[in-house]
């Protein structure tokens, strides 16, 4: 089986982000960028399935700036066989390429590559939309297995255990399907140095959005981006008695 793994270059999850002074967005200059953590889980899962003999080819695809080639190289160092970059200078966090446009671009790639299924992160940790996988599934008319914490590939079907509010749900979906990953699905490996070297030689195609016939014009315009209101904390109590007294008489929550 052939699997397509969409990945995204996003701000590293350890970075404490800063809002731009002109309130137009979030400062990304000179900020560490990495592969979106949920996408790493997707690449890891695809790689494990290839190692188990269930998948024959893994194609990583990203939509983003030239530098997103690094993200594809990371995916190839973990296990992808080749990469596709749809190059755009538009922002990919907010005010630029939006989930619907990404889903349309991915659909065009699916039509060229005919994968048996797609596995991708449930959301990216920049715009936090949690939409692209579901949208892609809808545009293709495929089934969807979102927020997966377990995945079993069968004959023409996949069994997906999903993280839902209050517990877990297991569904069986027909292939082809779009599967989106949750944190518990696996723990991504660190790419070994030999694999990082090998990844540099793997094929990487670059294409333009126009070649896919997709319009990247945003539907949402950004009015402003601001810091959240600062919480006035730092209050201390000396002991349990004082805590109970304050909760009862000052906060009145007990």
């Amino acid at each position: 089986m052939k699997v397509l793994v969409p990945v995204k270059r996003a701000v590293d999850y350890n970075v404490k982000i800063r809002v731009k002074a002109d309130e137009s967005g979030v400062e990304l200059n000179n900020v560490k960028m990495s592969m979106n953590p949920f996408d790493e889980i997707a690449i890891e899962e695809a790689t494990k399935l290839k190692e188990a003999g269930k998948v024959t080819e893994i194609i990583a695809v990203t939509i983003g700036p030239d530098k997103a080639q690094e993200t594809l190289r990371t995916a190839m160092a973990i296990g992808a066989d080749r990469g596709i970059l749809v190059a755009t200078d538009a922002p990919t966090d907010i005010g630029g390429v939006e989930p619907l446009a990404i889903a349309k671009a991915l659909k065009a790639i699916v039509e060229k590559e005919s994968p048996d299924f797609i596995i991708m992160g449930k959301q990216s940790i920049d715009d936090d939309s949690n939409q692209t996988g579901q949208m892609l599934s809808a545009l293709l008319g495929w089934s969807q297995g979102t927020f997966a914490s377990d995945l079993e590939l069968g004959d023409g079907v996949a069994t997906v255990t999903r993280e839902i509010d209050g517990g877990l749900e297991t569904i069986e979906i027909k292939l082809p399907a779009v599967i989106t990953t949750d944190l518990r699905l696996n723990e991504p490996r660190y790419a070994s140095l030999p694999n990082i070297m090998k990844a540099k030689k793997k094929p990487l195609d670059i294409m333009k959005p126009e070649e896919l016939g997709v319009d990247f014009t945003p539907r949402l315009s950004v009015i402003k981006v601001v810091e959240p209101p600062v919480r006035q904390g730092g209050g201390k109590v000396a002991n349990v008695d004082e805590l109970i007294e304050k909760l009862k008489n000052e906060a009145k929550v007990l």
Binding site: Y13, K16, I17, V19, V26, D93, I94, P99, L100, A103, I125, D126, D128, S129, N130, Q131, T132, Q134, M135, S137, A138, S143, Q144, G145, F147, R162, E163, I164, D165, G167, L168, E169, T170, I171, E172, I173, K174, L183, R184, R219, S221, V222, I223, K224, V225, V226, E227, P228, R231, G233, G234, G235, K236, V237, V240, L243, K246, L247, A251, V253
Partner: protein, 309 residues
């Protein structure tokens, strides 16, 4: 034009988060309809009809909606879309699963997890795990929106008397089937709806010692939460997790025990009305957001708290 809300329910009754979504919808228009789509969902529809501020209930009762799978739910909602300017669902795992499918079928760019409404086109939403708030204006003719329930006060569950209209389902898409569900069995309130949440972090030390957190929660009638560190360490299941990648809570009282206060965790709880932090490290960042910080060993403090409450 009217607003359509996709109700969160378990076929028998309406989930409380639906009441918060009604408040959000009424900021847009006073004609607010609620879709109750499920199987044998008459009692849920009747409960929805009593919600204050709602004008009509649409009931779609069909066997293929028994587990409200996205592939079967989305066509029902798309079929109703013509009559509405805005379609709202809570940003629960159900809403997050279904609504983008609806949006794509309507060629609309969804606005996820809104926390405030400026006007019919303009909304606030947290991005970067709540470390920035974006105000965005949609140019789509129809708005498909998921709503952060805790950002809006609940409307009253009674006082309304809406007519219930039956609508026909779209049939089984034949793409997916339900296999099983394992829900955590608990008498405690749901994490995202609780008035008080007691959460434990890595400082609790083990799954066994997490009993202490649960005892305090039971004493207070509270829900139990955890930091990602505690979940990753295997003390508690994933659905306990409060934070950027878990649940966002905003109770009246949040008690953080043995939690250092990583950005990841703060993103999920700093909307709480009052925050109590109990931690032995007085430099822990959790104290910067706490109204009442208590520095000390949780294994001394929590038993004393349980005894004296």
């Amino acid at each position: 034009m009217s607003i359509l809300i996709i109700a969160e329910h378990d076929h028998k009754s309406i989930k409380p988060v639906t009441l918060n979504i009604v408040t959000a919808a009424r900021k847009l228009d006073t004609d607010v309809h609620v879709l109750v789509a499920g199987t044998d969902c008459t009692s849920a529809a009747e409960e929805a009809a009593k919600i204050h501020g709602v004008t009509k209930i649409l009931k779609c009762d069909a066997p293929e909606l028994s587990h409200r799978l996205a592939e079967n739910m989305a066509p029902v909602i798309v079929g109703l879309a013509d009559g509405y300017t805005h379609i709202l669902a809570p940003s629960t795992t159900f809403g997050k699963n279904v609504m983008p499918r609806v949006a794509a079928l309507l060629d609309t760019q969804q606005i996820s997890d809104i926390s405030a409404i400026h006007d019919a086109d303009t909304f606030e939403r947290p991005i970067y795990a709540g470390n920035a708030i974006a105000t965005v204006k949609s140019s789509d003719a129809k708005k498909i929106i998921t709503v952060r329930g805790t950002a809006f006060d609940p409307t009253k569950a009674d006082g309304g008397n809406s007519p219930i209209e039956d609508i026909t389902a779209s049939g089984d898409a034949g793409l997916s089937t339900f296999v099983k569900q394992e829900l955590s069995k608990s008498d405690r309130p749901e994490l995202t709806a609780a008035k008080i949440v007691v959460s434990g972090g890595r400082g609790v030390g083990s799954g066994e010692d997490f009993d202490l957190i649960e005892k305090l929660a039971d004493k207070l009638g509270a829900a139990v939460g955890a930091s990602r560190a505690a979940v990753d360490a295997g003390y508690v299941p994933n659905d306990y997790q409060v934070g950027q990648t878990g649940k966002v809570v905003a109770p009246e009282l949040y008690i953080a025990i043995g939690i250092s206060g990583a950005i990841q965790h703060l993103a999920g709880m700093k909307g709480s009305k009052y925050i109590v932090a109990i931690n032995k490290d007085e430099e822990a960042p959790i104290f910067n957001v706490a109204d009442y910080g208590l520095v000390g060993d949780l294994f001394d403090i929590v038993p004393e708290l349980i005894e004296k409450l």
